[in-house]
């Protein structure tokens, strides 16, 4: 059929159903007239002719047949079905609400979590041939990691055949001058090959060339698209213009495209060539990120073999700069997701468990409803409804339910994604790539819809199959037992899954408690911290820099509310990580040796302000200044490692270069957690910042301490006002940026952000699982009580007390919950192995956690059985018997 006329007629009938009906009736009526006339012409009486014609034509059926023909009839029926289905769902609001919410939670959380995990762990990084980009790090013999050196980068460029391009980068924070005031930027110093590794071409201008990267070459920068728009009004002729950076005039080489996502330093907006020279000491500093693009066909493993072969020779040739080193090559994606991968995978698994619970719950609720409606369907089948019609009706109902649940799920997903981004730990890479994942949504929605449909049409199939007479009889009595077993099994499964989530979140909660109970080595409460970064050429002279800090400290100490204040070159648990070699000379009992230790250049008052106890000797005081003998304080663990039971006091240590000046140890301080509460890595050397400044001459040298963190303790454990402190610093020099203002207590909390993130997600999931399990138990018990009203009435009539009846219901509840708990505990013992890496100071089999989970679930199960039990107790035996 050509569709035009058919389509028009159908639409016309949908539009004017009354007119269409009139046409059909008129045509049939005319047919009837003609038929009757024909019979009359054959000699029948008018009445008889009319009767005979009616018999032939069957006018009602014929009009119906005319109406039912055509495609539009399907639409009409479907609309009627939707209408009926909506009415039925409205008639059972509790059922509808619970199913829709279950679907929403199941679909929504899965979508949100997958939307967060997928771009980070699974989707390729946004570069051409992203799998060929590799990261190279140096593994130390003690299991720690080092950054790469410029020297080894040069060696690789020279010798590597598996790497097509190699680049190095380090963080850089220049200050951009301009009419709108100085602005501190995040940026990177990079080798000229950096953008080639990522396969990025500039949107404007050019990228760096090898000539730009030579020491002493005229400085040039590349801008990010964001910075170009924000500070340069998207000037299309920016290439070749100059900008003021750190008091110097610098030419702009080009602008990167907006699509360039710099996963190594997501906040970076400006890039400058590294311009290192092999004659400089810093060519041997382990402070560079090394990345490379593999040759087509080369594997990370092959590259690792080659790089280690090159490395062995190189390390052997430079024993002063390199200890035993294992060069590790990973896909860049693996490298940047390494710290968050366990947490994300665990969270993804938890979302899967929640989706399973949602599926079980939906199955359960629909089965219960199907049992309740069996009588209705038997009746309709008895009245002549075809099996197809019943299935269609139920299908419509389930699809409507699934659509409502899916829409609510989309809302949950959108909210969930937002919450995840807000809660995400700071190390989470590619945060802005997180979004509602349509594929995941479709998967969740399709799964739950398929379940809804397959479960929902069961009663219709049964109604059409079975003997309406028997079902009607049974239905009136609301009997039917075989479904109870199925639903009981489902509730047990639900409870078991809920136990798994409860135990997991309990273990994470207890880990976090243990972690925060750890002594960080200092009293963070009431301490405010901020970072002061010196800008300007004159501060390249360390003594000038130190004088500024000294003046600023004096000003800060005069701020009302400040009880003590100090500066330090690195702050515990803030992400700072300055490690250097600490060298000890041979003594009577000890051989000479070097260890890697955190180096803190601090002002007097640092130990007092942070509340770090001095175990032995003395802290620094105002006499430890330039010109006096060099003194140092070392950490307890370093003292123990190096000197054992001997006193460390009076011994000497050199830090940094092997030929550095020796410091005399005058004190031993308590160990402080520097990297994380969970990591014991406490070897540390403290030196007075004044002395450090005095021993270095010109050019920034080894330790250009131009970035210092201020720590301020307020009165009565109340942090002093940040604004007043900042003003005090600016009273010394108003051009110095003050950044990273934070309470030390918050830094401590943030250092456990990944565990906290996983815990929050698990807690939310466990709560949802608990609610779903409660809904499941309630649904089964409520249905069971409703179906056993007669039995309960008879028992009551035969003298069963209220207590007996209560026991009847509660025993059923506890049997279900108990079986679920047993299965759940077994499952949890296996499943919690997956989160073992996230646990701290607690066994994955911690009995207290398991017992708490069981207790909580039992309490919830008891609450869920409360209403059905109450209903059972209230059954009136007289009324029941009368109904018989």
């Amino acid at each position: 059929m050509t569709a035009w006329r058919d389509l028009a007629r159908g639409v016309g009938r949908l539009w004017h159903p009354a007119a269409a009906d009139r046409d059909a009736i008129d045509e049939v009526a005319h047919f009837l007239d003609e038929a009757a006339a024909a019979y009359e012409a054959r000699g029948l009486s008018p009445d008889a002719a009319r009767r005979a014609a009616r018999l032939d034509v069957a006018p009602t059926a014929t009009v119906d047949a005319l109406r039912a023909a055509g495609w539009e009839h399907v639409v009409v029926t479907a609309m009627r079905d939707v209408h009926v289905a909506a009415r039925r769902l409205r008639a059972a609001p509790a059922f509808t609400l619970v199913v829709a919410l279950t679907l929403a939670v199941g679909i929504g959380t899965t979508t949100a979590i997958f939307g967060a995990v997928n771009p980070i762990l699974f989707a390729p990084l946004p570069y051409s041939d992203a799998n060929r980009i590799a990261s190279i790090v140096e593994g130390r013999a003690d299991g720690g990691w080092n950054g790469g050196t410029f020297a080894f980068f040069r060696e690789l460029v020279e010798r590597s055949r598996t790497l097509e391009t190699i680049a190095v980068a380090r963080p850089w924070q220049p200050t951009l001058g301009g009419a709108s005031g100085p602005e501190r930027l995040e940026g990177q110093r990079v080798s000229a090959s950096y953008f080639a590794v990522f396969g990025v071409a500039p949107a404007i201008g050019r990228t760096f060339t090898a000539a730009d990267d030579r020491a002493g070459a005229p400085p040039v920068v590349m801008l990010s698209d964001g910075l170009w728009r924000r500070r340069f009004d998207a000037d299309p002729a920016i290439a070749g213009r100059t900008v003021t950076l750190d008091d110097a005039i610098v030419a702009v080489a080009g602008v990167l495209p907006a699509s360039f996502e710099n996963v190594l330093a997501p906040a970076a907006e400006i890039w400058m060539p590294l311009q290192y020279d092999m004659t400089e000491g810093r060519a041997w500093g382990h402070h560079l990120r090394t990345v490379g693009r593999l040759q087509r066909g080369a594997t990370a493993r092959g590259a690792a073999d080659e790089i280690n072969a090159i490395g062995r020779v190189f390390v052997a040739g430079h024993p002063d700069a390199y200890g035993p080193t294992n060069f590790v090559v990973r896909r860049l994606q693996d490298e940047i997701t390494r710290s968050v991968r366990p947490a994300l995978l665990v969270v993804l698994a938890a979302a899967g468990v929640l989706l399973m619970i949602a599926c079980v719950n939906v199955t359960n609720l629909l089965l219960a409803r199907g049992v309740q409606r069996r009588a209705e369907f038997a009746l309709r089948a008895a009245l002549g409804a075809s099996r197809g019609r019943l299935v269609q009706q139920l299908l419509t109902e389930s699809l409507l339910l699934a659509a409502v649940g899916g829409a609510a799920g989309m809302v949950v997903a959108a909210g969930g994604v937002r919450a995840l981004v807000a809660l995400s730990p700071p190390e989470l890479p590619r945060v802005h790539a997180i979004g509602v994942d349509i594929a995941a949504f479709a998967f969740g929605a399709a799964l739950t819809t398929a379940i809804a449909i397959s479960v929902a049409i069961l009663p219709a199939l049964q109604a059409a199959h079975s003997d309406p007479h028997r079902d009607l009889q049974r239905g009136w009595r609301r009997g039917g037992g075989e479904h109870h077993r199925t639903r009981g099994v489902l509730v047990v499964a639900e409870v078991a899954l809920a136990i798994v989530l409860l135990v997991s979140s309990g273990l994470l909660l207890r880990s976090l408690e243990r972690l925060f109970a750890i002594d960080a080595g200092f009293r963070g409460h009431g301490v405010l911290t901020m970072q002061v970064q010196l800008v300007g050429r004159r501060f390249s002279e360390p003594r000038v820099a130190y004088r500024f800090f000294e003046d600023a400290l004096d000003a800060v100490r005069r701020v009302p509310g400040v009880t003590s204040a100090a500066f330090t070159s690195q702050l515990p648990l803030s992400g700072d990580r300055d490690e250097y070699g600490a060298h000890f000379d041979a003594t009577v009992t000890q051989q000479a040796g070097s260890v890697s230790a955190f180096r803190y250049a601090v002002s007097p008052g640092y130990f007092e302000t942070l509340g770090i106890p001095i175990r032995d000797g003395r802290p620094f005081d105002d006499h430890d200044r330039a010109g006096t003998p060099l003194v140092a304080v070392i950490s307890e663990s370093l003292a123990r490692h190096r000197f054992g039971t001997e006193s460390a006091l009076g011994q000497t240590v050199r830090i940094g270069p092997l030929d550095a000046a020796p410091y005399t140890i005058v004190g031993v301080a308590t160990d402080v957690k520097q990297v994380s509460l969970a990591i014991d890595d406490a070897d540390a050397v403290y030196v007075p910042a004044s002395a450090a400044a005095a021993t270095i001459h010109g050019g920034g040298g080894q330790f250009g301490d131009t970035v210092m963190s201020l720590v301020v303790r307020g009165r009565d454990d109340a942090p002093a006002p940040a604004a007043a402190i900042r003003q005090a610093i600016w009273s010394v020099d108003k051009d110095q940026p003050v950044v990273r203002v934070a309470r030390l207590a918050d830094l401590v909390a943030a250092s456990a952000a990944e565990r906290r993130f996983a815990l929050l997600v698990f807690e939310a999931f466990a709560l949802a699982a608990l609610v779903l399990a409660a809904a499941g138990i309630y649904g089964v018990l409520a249905g069971s009580v409703a179906e056993r009203v007669r039995e309960i009435g008879i028992r009551a009539a035969l003298g069963a007390s209220r207590g007996d009846i209560l026991e009847l219901v509660l025993r059923q509840a506890m049997t279900l919950a108990g079986a679920g708990v047993v299965v759940g505990l077994a499952a949890a013992i296996i499943a919690t192995r997956a989160i073992a890496a996230m646990l701290f100071g607690i066994s994955a089999l911690d009995p207290f956690t398991y017992a708490s989970a069981v207790a909580l679930l039992s309490a919830v199960a008891a609450m869920a059985s409360g209403v059905p039990a109450w209903r059972a107790v209230r059954v009136d035996p007289a009324a029941t018997l009368r109904a018989e």
């Binding site: 059929m1 035009w4 006329r5 058919d6 008129d26 045509e27 005319h30 003609e34 023909a69």
Partner: protein, 111 residues
């Protein structure tokens, strides 16, 4: 009527209707009666099937239909063949003839 009336052979109703209407524009009852008469009572068309078939053929564009007033204040729906309907009739007639003669040859074949 000596021979029993039968339903129309499966799948031929459309062709019979088109053929009948091709003689002259007609309403539903007239078409049914004409099929019965011409087949000498061999085929009796069920009114429900006939009217739904007419509706289908009209919507498919093989027939046109128009309402005409009748003397006894009823509306009669009169059907007429379209060009598209004519083409289909020709095609189906040819197809049918070929099949019938093939069957006839088979039945006459001597073994």
């Amino acid at each position: 009527m000596a021979e029993p009336t039968t339903d129309v052979i499966q799948g031929t109703l459309d062709m019979l209707i088109l053929k009948t209407v091709s003689l002259e524009p007609m309403h539903g009852f007239g078409i049914g009666r004409r099929i019965e008469q011409i087949s000498r009572g061999v085929f009796k068309v069920n009114p429900g099937s006939l009217l739904t078939a007419l509706q289908r053929l009209e919507r498919g564009g093989w027939l046109d239909a128009e309402w005409r007033d009748t003397p006894n204040a009823r509306r009669a729906r009169v059907y007429m063949l379209t060009r598209r309907g004519r083409r289909r009739l020709d095609a189906e007639t040819e197809h049918w003839t070929r099949r019938v003669s093939a069957i006839a040859r088979l039945l006459k074949a001597e073994g």
